[in-house]
């Protein structure tokens, strides 16, 4: 009668830290990706929003803003795409936050925390799954961009470099989202908490207007904004117009600045989020 016990597998001896971390993270990533296929409307809404932004900005603002000495609408659309790409990848913050908050409120985090699994794996699995969704969104966005007249002018390798920087930025921001998700009570709060501060971050930047046109006190903020570094790097690597002329170091060395900012954000927020997770719901 004791089939429950007699046939139970032995718990294997613990594996090394890194091997276990990677394996557990992939198990959780897979779980989150399966969830996405079961809730396709979330993925689809995630795609519609940036596409809508491209169309709105292109045809509403296009032609009214001076980019690189011209108010040509086509030039604005080329200028715009780097900003939209960067804004889109940072919106992954809200998805990560809502996902973690949902797991907390449903008791799944308790389940995970009672298992002999790597401590960071639940969060890493979440952020990696979001990275997959972000990649999908960026691909769709690139196609829409090409349709409205955006082009890459510096060759495919540099363009791929730009996409890599974008995905790294999105991955970094999803760790901020993970921390928010662990800190709020509901998935709804995590969504708005994940988005509200993104508006100043993405608008006080070079994404949609040139910082040279901003008030002098706000301009340094825009130029040192981690988000601006990635946008500037993308414009350089894509060969798009609107590269900011400035003495600020991140604007001079945008690729390095983007890389360093993203790695710094990951280092700080991953540490904080994993620490928070260990005592989560406590």
């Amino acid at each position: 009668m004791t089939t429950l016990i007699d046939t139970a597998p032995e718990v294997p001896a613990p594996r090394g830290g890194l091997a276990r971390s990677v394996a557990d993270s992939l198990v959780v990533t897979r779980r989150n990706l399966i969830r996405m296929t079961r809730i396709p409307e979330m993925v689809i809404f995630g795609l519609i929003q940036p596409v809508m932004f491209v169309i709105l900005f292109s045809y509403v603002f296009g032609g009214s803003l001076n980019i690189g000495g011209t108010t040509d609408a086509a030039a604005y659309r080329e200028f715009l795409m780097a900003g939209i790409f960067a804004q889109t990848v940072t919106f992954a913050t809200a998805g990560a936050g809502a996902g973690i908050a949902d797991d907390m409120s449903k008791g799944l985090v308790d389940r995970f925390r009672s298992l002999p699994m790597a401590r960071g794996a639940v969060l890493t699995g979440r952020t990696l799954a979001d990275l997959v969704q972000t990649t999908l969104t960026v691909v769709v966005l690139a196609v829409v961009g090409l349709l409205v007249g955006w082009r890459i002018h510096e060759g495919v390798p540099k363009a791929l470099g730009a996409f890599a920087l974008l995905l790294l930025l999105g991955y970094a921001f999803s760790w901020i989202g993970a921390l928010i998700g662990l800190s709020v009570r509901t998935p709804e709060a995590a969504t708005s908490g994940g988005l509200i501060w993104l508006f100043p971050v993405t608008f006080v930047s070079n994404a949609f207007v040139n910082p040279e046109q901003m008030a002098s006190w706000i301009r340094p903020i825009a130029e040192w904004n981690p988000f601006s570094a990635t946008v500037q790097a993308c414009r350089e690597l894509f060969g798009n117009p609107g590269v900011v002329q400035s003495d600020a170091w991140p604007m001079q060395h945008p690729v390095w600045a983007s890389l360093l900012w993203s790695l710094l954000i990951i280092a700080v927020f991953r540490t904080l989020a994993v620490r928070k997770y260990r005592s989560a719901t406590a």
Partner: protein, 342 residues
């Protein structure tokens, strides 16, 4: 030698609330301890401390001989937790849920897959195995949650109100599983609001109230303090009360005669402590019939959690519906997911 679960002086406060106020427990290997108490007593907080989810402010605990505070990861390899609320991923199928848990217990993929199949069969979920858990009934979700806790059949199991909100059939089925586990040597700590459940499953019962263990013992010992079973009769005709009382006295404690029978004249209700359970009722009815006493209502009344509490503490078990357990949601504000007191 300390038991499979051992705790001394556990204290945990959330703000002003002392959720645990010095809890001591010892559960010998292969036995079941029922942690009995109302909402807010500290049952769930105790389970959360012992399952490494929550660090106590002070106190010590070992599970399967391992220090919970010093080596939480080693403890996690030896425990299974089945929560009050089914912690399964509702968008994953039953099979995917169990495979995931198996992988996170560090099983290799084939072993996790085989075990998931076995458990789905065993818990009657084979037909629903490849449907998202969202489509499951409450009872099915609870079974899946329990199956998830049993993926490696850990030597020590924690079940936090495993049957709260379940219908009697599902409750019965869960009890059978629990008995099987215990027969196989598993040590179990079970929290419940139902005295009947603790009575049915637990070797020992610890009654908790306001963060403290206020009584412990076997269910017989607790019942002896509470007063045990009673037969309650409401006769139709006031004139038959005296005769009915004489009949009931025969079933009461020996040597006390009619004194053992409590009579409430205005409701025509007679109550007598008995031993012997339900089969006694038929005899009582026959005897009352023989003297021509017409019965409006008759029943066997078992001591409830309220009875235990009133006798132990002088106050009722559930002070108002919807009172929530501090730390049950959690101190930092996860929304409470408690159901109202039963």
């Amino acid at each position: 030698m300390p038991g499979a679960i051992h705790a001394e002086g556990l204290v945990k406060t959330f703000g002003d609330v002392r959720a645990l106020d010095g809890v001591d427990l010892d559960v010998p290997e292969g036995t079941v301890l029922g942690l009995l108490g109302p909402n807010g007593a500290g049952k769930t907080t105790t389970v959360r401390v012992l399952t490494t989810l929550l660090r106590p402010d002070s106190g010590t605990a070992t599970v399967a001989g391992v220090d919970v505070l010093k080596h939480p990861d080693a403890v996690r390899r030896s425990i299974g937790l089945s929560g009050q609320f089914a912690a399964v991923d509702e968008y994953l199928t039953g099979r995917e849920n169990l495979q995931m848990v198996g992988r996170l217990y560090q099983l290799r993929a084939p072993a996790a897959k085989a075990r998931a199949g076995d458990l789905l069969d065993r818990f009657g979920l084979a037909d629903a195995a490849d449907r998202p858990a969202k489509t499951y009934s409450g009872g099915m979700r609870r079974r899946l949650d329990l199956a998830a806790a049993l993926v490696v059949s850990p030597p020590v199991m924690f079940m936090d109100e495993p049957t709260t909100g379940l219908d009697p059939r599902n409750r019965q089925a869960l009890w059978e599983v629990i008995k099987e586990l215990v027969a196989g040597g598993t040590t179990l700590l079970l929290t419940t609001q139902y005295l009947e459940e603790a009575d049915h499953l637990a070797h020992d019962i610890a009654v908790v109230d306001q963060g403290r263990v206020i009584a412990r013992g076997t269910s017989d010992q607790l019942k002896a303090r509470t007063g045990g079973e009673r037969v309650e009769v409401v006769v139709h005709d006031r004139d038959t009360i005296a005769a009915a009382r004489a009949v009931l006295a025969r079933y009461g404690p020996e040597g006390r005669g009619g004194d053992a029978v409590a009579v409430e004249d205005h409701t025509r209700r007679l109550t007598v402590p008995v031993t012997g359970g339900a089969k006694l009722l038929a005899e009582v009815i026959r005897d009352l019939d023989a003297i021509g006493a017409e019965i409006d209502d008759i029943g066997l009344r078992r001591p409830t959690l309220d009875d235990v509490f009133i006798s132990l503490t002088g106050h009722a078990a559930a002070p108002g519906e919807g009172r929530e357990e501090p730390g049950e949601g959690d101190g930092e504000g996860r929304p409470h997911r408690k159901e109202p007191a039963a």
